[in-house]
Symmetry: C2
Subunit: 353 residues, 2 copies
């Protein structure tokens, strides 16, 4: 489909400080595309960033048919712009659509439109204070009458926000609180999809953790509260006796693209990796006998978040003496170097815009 | 807070046929009220029904902080307008808010505003083709920047739609499909809240059921897929050996106001009632030995939906020979008569507008 581009006549003044810009600072343009039953997906367009007019009867407000993706493009030292595994993100976007009955998009076309959006706002990524840009495609149900059924009309949107600043030495470890009461997902639920409802449901536990000085929550499985699932909105890894362990894709956790990338990199660097169920009891035992060496969360936004403390009830597990672990840092460095084009990409993960 | 009312200059032409109006036909006005951290809830106002201007970065599109209520007002034969248990709905609205970290509203004030909205659109409820009106209050996160945390800004909205036509003989039985794969809720999740994400997650199973000729899905518990929870967006009751059984409020199902009302009415009519876990196996056994007499769903929208067939895998259970059961009809008639002011209300459930 032919993309139309309407450029803003009033470009924003770029900020000096991007450190708190993630999700707050948005570039000058947005992408929109509509779906109706009669026309399917149609009218792809880039417009000046602005508002949609939606009445309170709009379906997404009531029944939560809303999905999103988060992917990044990195500026290389020689000025190229590299998308990281964009087709994996497009596929996951369609997986999220399928789970909550949103009509799927053409993955190749949507990616083309997103590249055009990046080109339209290229001056933002060329700012010397910015070295990556986060791309947020999303789809919401826009049928203007409510009823508890899949909507007939949708709008796909995308916007750009400067990525979090890169920290070459790796981020500092965070304190994590293991949530025993509330649950994020259960088998047969929506845990594998990036749908809006999965996030609001986590805020109460997150607020409780923050009030106690923790950065995030570690989620256990919904059925038994025994097996580790996700950390906040990230996948989680543990290093026990030199082995890299992450929960398997059992149907309740997100099939993270950073998770998948780190597993591949780790194997190629010679680490033993395993995807399997791992209980909080096993982690406590490993901590007690001194074999729990490292733990970290991972995701597109922050890349890697080392875990410095894990608290389960009265059990406070300190991990790694307050600094990022060797395995964690090795994986972090290797992945970020590939993403930023500092080393060759043997996997074909990066795509130049 | 002082409510401001701006009346439309262009009232809509009222339709002749309201039969498919639920959620489609909306009255002339809407209620709005905003929340900011600095001001709390403020600026309650009634406006001509219309659109909000929201950018794609608006928080509710991403993380699903969206809750709603559904309550009804009934027109009596002598022309009065009776709200049914409105304070129970206000309390549940605040319960939903609490679960996903939306700031609570003042229940009495919101109810006052909703009454004013009803008065503003009184000509709609006075239409001889309409005998009830459905009130949909809702709250969405409107902070215009995204981040996976509770929003700082919200908008409370309310709109009115004509209620489904009353059927004095009771509605016809529906065919129900027991979902074995997907799950609606799990202990520690959001099953007790009317939050948007709870609905989108059910659409795939609902679509599968509809494709096979069923009206709705019966949900089993998320942890074991053994115990009955809800039917579509309704609570469920069974009549077995003369006893009225409904799943207890175990933390995964909605504390339905129709459910609660029917339990009270049934007790006063001399029926044995019990709220307890009930497995799908127990229902199959009762059907096999001939003691499963009736089954029905209940909720504000449809009041009661008798179950004529329940299918679990290869087991097709026919219930009640295609007509509404005696207990079901007795409860339906008594409840609707109280709601419509046809008999005295000994419970104090109705409130005149």
């Amino acid at each position: 489909m032919a993309l139309t581009i309407t450029r803003t006549q009033y470009p924003k003044t770029k900020p000096q400080d991007y450190s708190k810009g993630f999700g707050n600072i948005l570039t000058d343009h947005m992408f929109l595309m509509d779906y109706t039953e009669a026309e399917g997906w149609h009218d792809p367009r880039i417009l000046p960033f602005g508002a949609l007019a939606l009445t309170p009867a709009t379906m997404c407000f009531h029944y939560g048919q809303e999905i999103f993706e988060g992917m990044k493009a990195y500026r290389t030292e020689d000025g190229r712009l590299l998308l990281f595994r964009p087709m994996d993100h497009m596929r996951r976007l369609n997986h999220s659509c399928e789970r909550i009955c949103i009509p799927q998009v053409c993955e190749e076309e949507l990616l083309d439109y997103l590249k055009e959006l990046l080109k339209t706002d290229l001056d933002w990524i060329q700012d010397s204070n910015v070295d990556s840009i986060y791309i947020r495609p999303m789809i919401i149900a826009t049928e203007p009458v409510f009823g508890a059924r899949p909507a007939k009309d949708y709008t796909c949107m995308a916007m750009l926000t400067p990525g979090r600043p890169h920290i070459p030495k790796g981020p500092k470890p965070v304190r994590i609180y293991v949530e025993k009461e509330q649950a994020r997902a259960v088998r047969g639920g929506t845990g594998t999809a990036k749908c809006a409802g999965n996030y609001a449901s986590t805020f109460a536990a997150q607020a409780k953790a923050k009030a106690q000085g923790y950065t995030q929550v570690l989620w256990l499985d919904g059925a038994e509260r025994r097996y580790v699932e996700e950390m906040g909105q990230m996948n989680i890894f543990f290093v026990i006796k030199g082995e890299l362990i992450t929960p398997d894709l059992s149907g309740t956790i997100l099939d993270g693209i950073t998770r998948r990338s780190l597993l591949a990199i780790a194997k190629d660097l010679g680490y033993q990796t395993v995807e399997r169920r791992i209980s909080i009891q096993e982690i406590m035992t490993a901590h007690a006998d001194g074999t729990l060496q490292e733990a970290f969360g991972c995701g597109t936004g922050a890349c890697i978040a080392p875990v410095g403390e894990l608290t389960y009830g009265e059990c406070h597990m300190n991990i790694g003496n307050g600094s990022i672990g060797t395995v964690t840092f090795t994986l972090f460095e290797r992945l970020t170097q590939i993403q930023r084009g500092l080393v060759p990409d043997p996997y074909g993960w990066t795509m130049e815009v």
